[in-house]
């Protein structure tokens, strides 16, 4: 029982981290039709900034709370200075551009922090474990699940309920009309991209104590995130949430109980989904 629940918790943790990664990816694609191959880089940057901030200030919380800010600024800059010039070009050019950026970010991280694996220490208040109904669970992981859930709810409220969210959806739906209504479309697009990568950066920062912080994590988290988005459907936040949890749990349980098959489980799931519903479970087909 202990083991099963522990694995479930681990699965949910992975799910939450995947959600933070894939929500941004899906958002950026769904709203802007841009595939950000450098999304993993922002996850990594968020982790490193949180690490640096945490070490500088001595506070984990400060790192988590503010670590995503530099990433957001960089994201905004990337969109305004580079990506915006490629909107009229085929999709693939944006993919290539963001791919080029992964090289740059990778070396920048290496230049500043070196190639070793670093660690963000868990804060005092969350270290150790807690006992719930006779089962011992690590506090930090429980925190992560709650944290991820909170972000998911906030994100949903923002996009679905707020005025700003409505502007986002309008600007994306019909930019010239939105501009005619006085919405600053330039600011909007830059902000959407910044929000998307900010989520990834937040994920990286939060994942620090669990996954570690190192150059190379950008590539490692990218493929699972892509798989999640493909399964959930590009552009669907709900899809990103459901499939993150699904993938997180299946992958973790798979590794725990069927270590040799675990590898294939996720890929199999992806192939199955793509063959039956090519746009993903919740996807809206965009041509």
């Amino acid at each position: 029982m202990q083991i099963a629940v522990t694995q479930l918790v681990n699965g949910l943790v992975l799910g939450v981290l995947l959600f933070l990664m894939s929500a941004g990816l899906s958002l950026i694609f769904g709203l802007m039709n841009v595939v950000n191959v450098a999304h993993g880089s922002f996850f990594m940057l968020g982790a490193f900034f949180a690490l640096a901030l945490g070490e500088l200030s001595g506070s984990f919380w400060l790192g988590l709370a503010l670590g995503w800010i530099p990433a957001v600024i960089m994201g905004f800059g990337m969109e305004r200075l580079f990506i915006r010039y490629l909107y009229h070009r085929p999709h693939l050019d944006q993919v290539l551009l963001t791919f080029g950026f992964t090289f740059v970010f990778s070396d920048v991280v290496r230049m500043i922090w070196g190639p070793e694996i670093r660690n963000i220490p868990v804060p005092e208040v969350l270290s150790g474990a807690v006992e719930i109904f006779g089962i011992i669970l690590p506090k930090y992981r429980l925190f992560l699940i709650a944290f991820g859930g909170l972000i998911a709810v906030l994100l949903w409220l923002f996009l679905d309920r707020s005025r700003v969210g409505a502007m986002v959806r309008a600007g994306v739906d019909d930019a010239p009309t939105a501009a005619g209504l006085g919405i600053n479309v330039h600011l909007l697009f830059g902000s959407i991209f910044a929000l998307g990568v900010g989520l990834a950066a937040l994920g990286g920062a939060a994942a620090g104590p669990v996954l570690g912080v190192y150059m190379g994590i950008d590539g490692e988290i990218l493929i699972p995130a892509f798989i999640v988005v493909v399964i959930g459907g590009m552009g669907s936040l709900r899809g990103a949430f459901v499939s993150s949890m699904l993938v997180g749990i299946i992958d973790t349980l798979g590794k725990a109980y069927f270590p040799d098959l675990a590898l294939f489980a996720i890929y199999l799931l992806m192939v199955l989904v793509l063959l039956t519903r090519p746009h993903g479970l919740f996807g809206v087909g965009r041509t």
């Binding site: 010039y85 290539l96 080029g100 740059v104 590539g219 892509f226 493909v230 590898l263 992806m270």
Partner: protein, 320 residues
């Protein structure tokens, strides 16, 4: 379809002869240079094969390393574990690559654009993970040493020049085959798919089948490249299957010029030169490659060779 292009034909033939002569003469310039050119040619084959999918059929794949790596591993594993000669290994490698391309392609061509990109990437990573896990056969991340290079009618491929000439021959063969393919009806259908997939379907073409054919042919030539890589390196490790290598190949194709036959060759040259030259001065060569690539995508999307074809002499245009 111009009536007579004798001047252009002659120029092309002369250029081809000069290039072949230059290629043959490379070993005269010393061991280091020969190795460098050999490496470039191996990756040129890899990049040209990817261009068939990317530049000619219009499908962006980030999983091409799968076919390069499958062949390299097949050759090396058969050689090291079964003592099979590199020649049989090469044949097996190309077959394995084509077969994997058929299986992976079967799933991937069902979707296009971004899902296609992600699927190809994911499948390639799947193979990578298998190679990492299967230590007993592949040596895992430590790699598999001990490959014995074969001999060609008594001439051992351990001789750097012989190895080089063989690779150069493989390169010329690939270049020639792809050129013929592009000019053929099958090639024209691939271009049609790139130009307007919807219309191709409306006029009666089975587009999915064409994409799969393109994918398999590209996989087979990547397999040839992979086998030659195994000969060249006599050592293979899991890096050869990683999507980073797939990304490098995409870089080469775009830098050089997608949708041209010689573009990827130029791109492979530029990429490897950049890597070697910069890394001899500093550890941080990736940032430079990244910057060059970003600039290329923003300002020189047609690639270096693409630019040459646009501005250069007319007789070169047939390279498209």
């Amino acid at each position: 379809m111009s009536s007579s292009d004798l001047g252009g034909d002659r120029a092309r033939r002369l250029a081809a002869a000069l290039v072949v002569a230059a290629l043959a003469a490379v070993p005269l310039a010393g061991d280091y240079f020969t190795s460098l050119v050999a490496e470039v040619l191996v990756f040129a084959i890899f990049a040209m094969s990817l261009d068939l999918i990317v530049g000619y059929t219009g499908l962006l794949s980030f999983g091409h390393a799968a076919f390069f790596g499958v062949s390299a591993y097949t050759v090396t594993m058969l050689g090291v574990h079964a003592g099979l000669s590199g020649w049989w290994g090469m044949l097996a490698g190309i077959v394995m690559s084509a077969a994997s391309a058929w299986v992976i392609g079967f799933f991937c061509v069902r979707v296009s654009g971004i899902p296609f990109l992600m699927l190809t990437m994911a499948f390639s990573q799947l193979l990578y993970s298998v190679a990492v896990k299967w230590r007993s056969m592949t040596g895992g991340t430590d790699g598999l040493p001990g490959f014995v290079r074969p001999s060609f009618f008594g001439w051992s491929l351990d001789d750097r020049s012989v190895l080089y000439w063989f690779i150069a021959a493989g390169f010329v063969f690939t270049w020639w085959c792809l050129r013929r393919l592009i000019r053929s009806p099958l090639g024209s259908t691939m271009v049609g798919v790139r130009e307007n997939e919807q219309r191709m379907r409306a006029i009666g073409y089975p587009v999915q089948r064409i994409k799969l054919i393109s994918f398999v042919i590209a996989g087979a030539f990547a397999g040839l490249g992979g086998a030659l890589y195994a000969f060249f390196n006599a050592f293979v490790s899991t890096d050869i299957l990683h999507w980073v290598l797939s990304g490098d190949a995409v870089l080469m194709v775009i830098l050089g010029g997608a949708g041209t036959i010689t573009g990827p060759v130029i791109g492979a040259g530029i990429f490897l030169m950049l890597k070697h030259v910069i890394s001899s001065h500093t550890d941080y060569w990736m940032i430079w490659v990244g910057v060059v690539f970003i600039a290329c995508v923003m300002f020189l999307r047609q690639g270096v060779w693409g630019l040459v074809l646009e501005r250069g002499p007319r007789w070169l245009r047939s390279d498209r």
